[in-house]
Amino acid sequence: MAKSIAVIGDSESVKGFGAVGMDMFICDDPPSSPQLLKQIAENDYYAIIYMTEEVFEASVREREKLAERPVPAIIPIPGVRGNTGIGVRRLSRFVEQAVGSDILFKN
């Protein structure tokens, strides 16, 4: 079954994604992002939701509710304001959760 891809983030960062056929949701105010994420994830219409790092940070609790489900996959991407390393930190947290200590990213 074909599902769509959503991008949430500030207007500067998500602009380009609209051009390649993703649905963009502009959220210039990070604290309001959990509400937006909830609406987007609600009807199972989107398989992948990319979020820029600022809004990704702001919606921890909403994301946790969706973490156990196979879809949607919520993936952080760097926005125009640059990369803060959230993506890699998230990976290292997975490793820590699975292995007990971070054996891949510690250097």
């Binding site: 599902k3 390649v20 760097p78 990369n83 890699v88 699975a98 292995v99």
Partner: protein, 220 residues
Amino acid sequence: MDIMNVNPTRMQMTKLKKQLVTAKRGHKMLKDKRDELMRQFIELVQENKRLREKVEKELEACSGHFVNASAVMSKKSLDSSLMASKQQTGVDVGSKNIMSVDVPVFSAVSQSPEKGDIYPYGFAFTSFELDDAVSSLNELMPDLIKLAEIEKSCELMAAEIERTRRRVNSLEHVMIPRYEATIKYIAMKLEENDRSSRTRLMKVKDMLLEKAHHYSQKKD
């Protein structure tokens, strides 16, 4: 080690022994599951790391292109150029089972009117920077989707590994020792009962014999 609150009977012991066998078998299987999950997880997470670094680098480059484009074009014309996209990108969602963890498999489905025609605007009033930005983002799409798939798989597997590890540990360090201790306790108790009834019987026998034959009197 604490023991279970059970009656020290032979029947209870047989039952516990059966449960211990099941627990040991379960422990072995869960341990195998954990090891295999771990092996696959490590492979996946390394791939994930590699892909993420690549995607992040390229996305930053894309953002750079967009910033350049917005520098030479007015905000209004830039926004209106990007507003109506020609292609609609979606994903087909399948699922794959890795050691009882259901992970999604995404395959990109993109509908564009013409192959290669990805630009949602005419070239007359836009800068070439914008073309670069859109085309590089378009090239990045397969990697972005792959990243989503792998990262979601990692997330789900990490949670499953944690759960399995807890189960293995609880079996190994709590359940199995407790069963063993309880079985030992019942065995001891039964032996003790056995000895006490044996000595009682011996005593009774002595007393009966004494009564019938009056050994102690004959000795004198």
